[in-house]
Amino acid sequence: MKLEMKDAPGQLVAALKPISDVGGNIIAVIHQRDPGSDSDTLSVQIVLELPKGKLGDLVTILKEQGVHIQRIGEERLLYRRTVILIGHLMHTDLSDTVERIDSTGFAEVSQLSMSMPAINERSSSRLTIKSVTKDDMEKAISILRSVASEKDLLLIEPLEEIV
């Protein structure tokens, strides 16, 4: 996000503090003084990670602090996981399978590779799923598990060793 604030001592700290207050994580702060601009405001670009749904809170707090938000960039999907599905993928409506993930709004299928042997034989496909947070990824995988079980597909998940 790109912020604009008064160029006075303590202002930058005042703008950054709320980010940690809402549980966010600052990845980068880019602070470039534009020589041509008038000198009483300061523009700062911040790249940050926020827990799901906390963006609204942050915007409210920043406004209260008198910080002007010039622009909020796109939310980027940070988590990526690859799974393989085996079964009658076309007969069980592959686009619906993908849509079940895409329609969540918090995760999406970003890549799909598929092999299709003879008709009536089981096909295999590799799906890469992206999500904003790890929790969202867990939810997306759990949706995929129930879709796989409902459509009688074999879902092969990656081994995650985070305990």
């Binding site: 690859t82 590779s113 092999s115 092969i156 081994l159």
Partner: protein, 328 residues
């Protein structure tokens, strides 16, 4: 130390051979298979027994049963290596109970009794002041329980991940390396003697799940059973799926995992990076133990085989001798 050996299959023969060859200070005073047995308080000639078993298919006298040996022979530890029955645990379970009842130590490679009655058996053993050890039940030659109990003493075990079935690992290795179909790889496994005529127990992940239950009960004492394991086998895997994994520098392996904090107990084919330590070739087994202090430790070794499994049984026997018998 005096021992009695019940069961003269692959493991029993391996144990007898190694005791005969290696001067381990172990005397066998009783031996039996399903057809008959021998008792000799002065020590049985094991080379003679092995030869007789090979020639006649039986190791002793028809009038002396395995149960007679368990109940009457004079021994410090019973080596119970009869075939696994996953639903009743018998006849091994009965022999183990009888031996513990006589205040004898027990070493077993039999998964059935340990998976079905671990809590009951360990309580009986504790009450009677004897040891019950079962290193050979999981991972063949791999000393996983010794590692956890001694090498990792004081650690909290957070999770276990394992490749616990050599047959499945062989099939998956062949499918990945040669592009074989599941059916072709299974056929090859049978020809090589790695798969039974009825491979259900292996390929549906039941064998791996039983070993996972044994690991979980031994490590956490959580009383889980085979029914608590979320289980998927490898029968429906396609060479295409392995190829798709390969494109991402990954492969597919049947992984058993237990993470008590997440309530997770699962055996399933998983996508795993090819350079991961659990990715072993052919019939090898591998077990990763995650702990609070040591972090991850992976053990790799032969998951089956006569002498390999005998190594685990003999390791248990010598542990019992050093810990209990000599100072008694």
């Amino acid at each position: 130390m005096k021992v009695a050996i019940i069961g003269m299959g692959s493991v029993g023969r391996g144990v007898a051979e190694m005791i005969a060859q290696k001067r381990l200070g172990i005397t066998v005073t009783g031996i039996a298979d399903s057809k008959g047995g021998r008792i000799d308080p002065d020590g049985i000639d094991l080379f003679g027994v092995l030869e007789k078993k090979q020639k006649t298919g039986s190791c002793g006298n028809k009038k002396i049963s395995a149960s007679d040996v368990v109940r009457k022979a004079d021994y410090d530890a019973l080596v119970e290596v009869t075939p696994t029955n996953a639903s009743t645990g018998e006849p091994g379970l009965g022999y183990i109970r009888q031996a513990i009842g006589r205040k004898k130590h027990v070493v077993t490679s039999n998964k059935g009794p340990i998976a079905l009655a671990y809590k009951d058996l360990t309580e009986r053993a504790k009450k009677n002041g004897v040891a019950l050890r079962h290193e050979a039940t999981v991972g063949g030659a791999i000393p996983v329980f010794h590692t956890i109990e001694h090498g990792l003493a004081g650690n909290e075990i957070l999770a276990i991940f394992g490749v616990l079935n050599g047959t499945c690992n062989f099939i998956l290795t062949r499918m990945a390396d040669e592009g074989l179909t599941y059916e072709q790889a299974l056929l090859e496994a049978r020809e090589m003697g790695y798969a039974e005529a009825d491979p259900t127990y292996d390929v549906q992940g039941i064998d791996a799940a039983i070993k996972l239950v044994i690991l979980a009960n031994t490590i956490w004492g959580n009383g889980v059973t085979l029914n608590d394991v979320n289980r998927t086998g490898i029968e429906l895997l396609t060479p295409d799926a392995l190829h798709l994994a390969e494109e991402e520098d990954c492969t597919i392996r049947l992984i058993a995992e237990a993470i008590p904090k997440k309530g997770l107990l699962r055996v399933s084919p998983r996508i795993i990076e090819k350079n991961h330590p659990l990715v072993v070739e052919g019939t090898l087994n591998a077990i990763t133990i995650e702990t609070d202090m040591a972090k991850a430790i992976t053990l790799i070794g032969k998951g089956a085989g006569s002498v390999e499994t005998a190594s685990a049984v003999i390791g248990d026997l010598l542990y019992i001798r050093d810990r209990y018998v000599e100072c008694a």
